[in-house]
Subunit: 223 residues, 2 copies
């Protein structure tokens, strides 16, 4: 079997999408941690356009963008399919993945200026996003894909582990159990699944990073 390497960063939910996919499929791989403040020449070589993690290097060839990598993995390693087999269901999964990838309100919530207007707007967008997922996408299933975790669950992984930390650091509460009971239950189900539970960044470590980034940003905005 050809060598598999994953270039990632410990706090990136996009990196974890790929890591979880590899674990679910049982693919042996070498993980390469990247310092995103000092990117390695190899990362710049593999992803010259975006210079971002994750990059999956398979037999020396790089594949970039987390969702593109998940699709690639399903084609190369068919065990434990991440995307639904039925073409219509696959299209639905891709539709929702595209929707979530355009809704990155997290950074604006975290870095919203002191006045809070930008953060307030990001919060409203975040609530609308969660409501759409709760009402139109999740349904009464245990996971987005049904009884087992699939690509859409991996894509929404950020809601399960990163959002609660973001809420704590920013002081905004978005995902209330009362308001979003199904989505809240999903976060529990997701984080309790063995492969996910064993591959999550620590909440304290994540909070430490977000606090540092937030204070840096607010300080530089105030200067």
């Amino acid at each position: 079997m050809e060598e598999v390497k994953l270039h990632g960063m410990w706090a990136s939910p996009f990196t974890y999408r790929v890591k979880w996919g590899l674990e679910l499929k049982g693919i042996p791989y070498q993980y390469v941690e990247e310092d995103i403040t000092n990117k390695s020449p190899l990362l710049l070589h593999y992803n010259p356009l975006h210079k971002k993690v994750p990059v999956l290097v398979h037999g020396g060839k790089p594949v970039c963008e987390s969702i593109v990598i998940l699709e690639y993995m399903d084609e190369i390693w068919p065990q434990y399919p991440l995307f639904p087999i039925n073409p219509f269901d696959r299209a639905m999964a891709r539709f929702w993945i595209k929707y979530t990838d355009n809704k990155l309100f997290g950074n604006r919530l975290l870095f919203g200026s002191g006045s809070g207007e930008e953060a307030e707007k990001a919060r409203a967008e975040g609530i609308e996003f969660l409501r759409t997922i709760e009402e139109q996408c999740l349904g009464d299933k245990k996971f987005f894909a049904g009884e087992a975790i699939g690509a859409l669950d991996l894509a929404f992984g950020g809601i399960a582990q990163w959002l609660p930390v973001l809420e704590e650091v920013s002081g905004w509460k978005l995902l209330n159990a009362d308001e979003f009971p199904r989505l809240y239950a999903w976060t529990k189900n997701f984080k309790e699944a063995a492969v996910i539970r064993d591959n999550l960044p620590g909440a304290d470590k994540l909070a430490g990073l977000y606090n540092r980034l937030r204070h840096q940003r607010l300080r530089s905005a105030a200067e």
Copy 2:
């Protein structure tokens, strides 16, 4: 065979991606023109989240988002594959499609305010986009996919027919033949291919629409 309908809008390059795909695969379909200033109840029913064209309705089931539709079409109707067969090449096509779908500088170019600062910024972004495509993506091939038109060519269709009209209306010239010889040659090859040539909105009609929209926007910005 189950009924196939395409809900689209005559000036939308996203609609044409799907239309071209259907024509290339030789799938009989009914085209339903949508008035985007007065959307039909059926469109709102089929795409309640985005309320946008194109929507492909296959056997009564709607698929939304132009690229999601092209992927679906390749799975349902394997004749004339739009995406490359090789998994690594497929990943590359998906990577570049994702890149182009995040670079919608056209609207800002068209609607840039009188002072021109916004339009100037959109123009610089557009040039950078074209340079990236010219140097990193197209190579010396006739089409992005090689000798025959594929999904990436359909995704870039806007460059071939819509961009020249946008340039004319906005007064900004982006795609110079001297500066981007390969991409310029591609626009010629693409528009000369039979299925594309026979399915393009007229440049004059498009210019009329863009001029009206631009004047409306500039007038309302000045009020």
